[in-house]
């Protein structure tokens, strides 16, 4: 496949066709912040922190670099007033839930985010989906899933699977950008309430 040439932050960058802007930037040593991205997993596009400004055929738009495919002649700016504003607000929104998460604290410093801009409702999980996708895509166990829509969304272990699989694995814990205690807590909770392995599992309504 022919290589693609694009411009990131004024630098000419070459990337394979089909690569994303994030891949291309990382290869060229240009940093773009991410929270829901992990090389071993399919790109997700949930946290939106990796947004960049892109210019193609005279049109400026804001795209998530973890998903946006490289194209010839594309001009990318990884920082701009608007990009920074988007990132700052996203960090502020997440800090309402996980004010002490080290990754967020560091990002807040870099982007001048005010951790107190929105009323605190600590739930620790920022729903990046890393654990859920790791379990599904890499381990293929589907022991974790999302339940609920909108702000009600939360991660949840499937007790019947978790009771069998999680104890010896726990590979998802270090992926958690906030604190894996939360994941562990949810796990313990699910196991406590899980039916004993020998008993038949009641059908879920």
């Amino acid at each position: 496949m022919t290589d693609i040439v694009l411009n990131i932050d004024g630098k000419e960058v070459t990337a394979a066709a089909g690569a994303t802007v994030l891949d291309a930037a990382r290869q060229a040593g240009i940093h773009i912040p991410t929270l829901c991205h992990f090389e071993k997993l399919e790109a997700y596009g949930g946290c939106r922190l990796c947004m960049v400004e892109s210019e193609s055929r005279g049109k400026t738009s804001y795209v998530v670099s973890c998903l946006y495919p490289v194209e010839n002649g594309l001009v990318v700016r990884t920082r701009s007033a608007k990009v920074d504003k988007i990132r700052r607000l996203i960090i502020e929104e997440l800090m309402a839930h996980a004010p002490e998460a080290p990754e967020l604290v560091a990002l807040a410093r870099e982007y001048g985010a005010d951790k107190d801009r929105f009323e605190k409702e600590p739930i620790y999980c920022i729903l990046c989906g890393l654990c859920e996708r790791y379990c599904a895509e890499v381990k293929q166990k589907n022991a974790i899933g999302f339940v609920g829509n909108g702000p009600e969304r939360e991660i949840s272990f499937v007790p019947e699977i978790a009771a069998k699989e999680c104890n010896d694995c726990k590979e998802c814990f270090p992926l958690c950008p906030t604190s894996y205690l939360q994941a562990a807590f949810v796990l313990v909770e699910s196991l406590t309430f899980a039916p004993a392995a020998a008993e038949p599992v009641a059908a879920q309504g």
């Binding site: 922190l49 998903l67 929104e93 309402a96 801009r117 829509n149 909108g150 702000p151």
Partner: protein, 556 residues
């Protein structure tokens, strides 16, 4: 009924049906659309049935139970053909009177339309103010059809467009006609249907799909349901014509699981269309085949969004897909998939029958044809309305809608539900046009129009719409999930008299980032109502924050 093997067989069936019917015989059409059904119009229909039996009138007077007539405000609706005498708010007690009057060629005066001010009566459909300013190309067939009977549809030239396309036009000719007609999508975006069809047609994959979006999640929008329930064959016919043009072998109809009558009618219509040979293998002996499957939504708004809908048809949760690649190229199971709204598909047969030149003679410069609008809120006549694109809002709200309820004055007009916007009363002469309404900040969306009177609290309107939408976000991406949640909290505080001066600044940032950074169109447009508020009603917000409450009255 044996399958129709040719266009000639269809035409001969049509002649048979018409020969068996007497066009001069009175036909009583009782509306069983959602609103009339809710008013128990079925008891009215039953009363007509027994009255006809009692008087031994079978064969002299026909009875038909139909989909929505449109004038929902005045249901149960009854229309007596062939002269289309309209009766409103009909009760079972009125039935003997209507039947006797009909037999004598007279009118049952008690239930005809009376002008609320002058008392002047209007008897026929084309004299009733609600109807006479409309151009009912799509919804107008509803009173003429029992949706459970394919013969009723065939009797009014049903499937003639499909026959014409298959027997006299190439797929490219069909596509070009739709492109020339400049048919724009009725589901919200106004995207040209022809170019979307072309993209799917030209995509390299051989397997292609066509899909009807009948999810209709927009609040205060009921016209897709009225079309699909009242005239399912028109949508099926449009879909098969589209499949032929695009080269798709498989169609899907995706619709609401929670509308029993819709489901019943659609299932029956699909079975009949298959039995008669309008869908399935070798349609009308043309060699073209297209199967259609029915799928139901999972009761969440975002399942109406194109990529969410396609995930749902695949059997997954309807989470929008973050691909920078269009579903028309890579949709269901990564195959090219052309999705159009119910009303978009319903327009296709008439474009083929009457031609693109006829179609483009209706409407405004860049928005062609008619548009179905659900009229509701503080308006005298709520219902489903169909007018040419470009019709001034004044005609919709005052001439058709009868103006604002209870003699109050108009404050604002809201279009497009929770992803739309509100404009002030002084924009009443704006035209119902995709581009003009978008520029004003109240995009037509699917066509839900809410009339808001002088007592409406514009902070509460935005709060109410966000409260609806926040629960409908799938929660996948941060700016939508968190952004809406924070906006809702701020608006709630303002309505409770706890607003702060910094709130408008925070709202400004939240609106900007939510629309710029969200993954799908739900998040991208979630702050549109609030944006329109900041454009036209900002002073109301400032006053509310400054005076700390003084909560107004109702939302909508």
């Amino acid at each position: 009924m044996p399958k129709l093997e040719s266009v000639a067989a269809l035409e001969s069936l049509r002649s048979d049906i018409l020969a068996r019917r007497d066009a001069t015989r009175p036909c009583i059409a009782v509306c069983a659309g959602a609103a009339c059904d809710g008013l128990d119009s079925i008891t009215v229909a039953t009363a007509f049935k027994s009255e006809i039996a009692k008087q031994g009138l079978e064969g002299k007077v026909d009875l038909r139970v139909t989909g929505c007539h449109g004038y929902c405000e005045k249901g149960p609706n009854v229309v007596v053909g062939p002269k289309d005498v309209c009766y409103f708010e009909v009760t079972p007690e009125d039935v003997p009177g209507i039947v006797s009057a009909t037999l004598k060629g007279e009118v049952f005066e008690e239930r005809v339309y009376k002008d609320p001010q002058t008392g002047a009566k209007a008897v026929h459909m084309d004299e009733v103010p609600f109807y006479k300013h409309q151009t009912r190309l799509l919804i107008g067939d509803n009173p003429k059809i029992d949706p459970m009977k394919i013969e009723d549809y065939i009797a009014i030239d049903g499937y003639a467009a499909l026959a014409k396309a298959l027997s006299t036009m190439t797929p490219d000719e069909v596509l070009n006609e739709v492109k020339k007609a400049n048919l724009r999508g009725r589901g919200g975006g106004g995207f040209p249907a022809g170019s979307k069809w072309e993209t799917t047609k030209n995509a390299p994959e051989k397997t292609k799909y066509v899909i009807v979006n009948g999810h209709e999640g927009e609040s205060a929008a009921f016209m897709d349901r009225a079309m699909l329930t009242g005239n399912p064959h028109k949508v099926i016919e449009g879909l098969i014509i589209g499949a032929y043009a695009i080269g798709a072998q498989q169609g899907f109809i995706y619709t609401r699981h929670d509308a029993p009558r819709l489901v019943e009618h659609l299932k029956a219509a699909m079975a009949q269309a298959e039995e008669y040979g309008f869908m399935g293998e070798n349609i009308l002996g043309s060699g073209f085949s297209c199967n259609v499957e029915l799928h139901f939504d999972v009761g969440i708004f975002v399942s109406g969004e194109s990529s969410g809908l396609m995930r749902s048809i695949e059997g997954n949760a309807p989470e929008p897909r973050p691909k920078y690649i269009r579903t028309s190229v890579s949709g269901i199971w990564d195959k090219p998939s052309n999705l159009n709204n119910v009303e978009t598909w319903a327009n296709v047969p008439q474009i083929i029958t009457r031609g693109a030149d006829w179609f483009t003679s209706i409407g405004s410069e860049r928005s062609k044809g008619t548009k179905l609008v659900s009229l509701s809120g503080n308006v005298v006549n709520s219902g489903i309305v169909e007018v040419p694109m470009g019709t001034p809002l004044r005609t919709l709200i005052f001439d058709i809608g009868g103006g604002v309820r209870d003699g109050k004055s108009l404050k604002a007009i809201h279009f497009g539900g929770a992803m739309g916007g509100s404009i002030p009363a002084d924009q009443i002469d704006a035209k119902l046009d995709f581009d003009e309404m978008s520029k004003l900040g109240a995009p037509i969306g699917a066509g839900g129009l809410l009339v808001m009177d002088e007592d409406t609290d514009m902070v509460e309107v935005a709060r109410y719409l966000l409260d609806f939408l926040v629960k409908e976000s799938c929660g996948k991406c941060v700016p939508c999930r968190e952004g809406m949640y924070q906006m809702l909290k701020i608006l709630t505080n303002i309505t409770e008299g706890k607003g702060k001066t910094s709130d408008l600044d925070r709202l400004g940032d939240l609106m900007e980032v939510t629309s710029a950074a969200s993954l799908c169109a739900l998040g991208k447009t979630a702050s549109d109502p609030l944006k329109s508020m900041m454009r036209y009603f900002k002073d109301e917000y400032e006053t509310r924050i400054a005076t700390g409450g003084g909560a107004g009255s109702q939302a909508i």
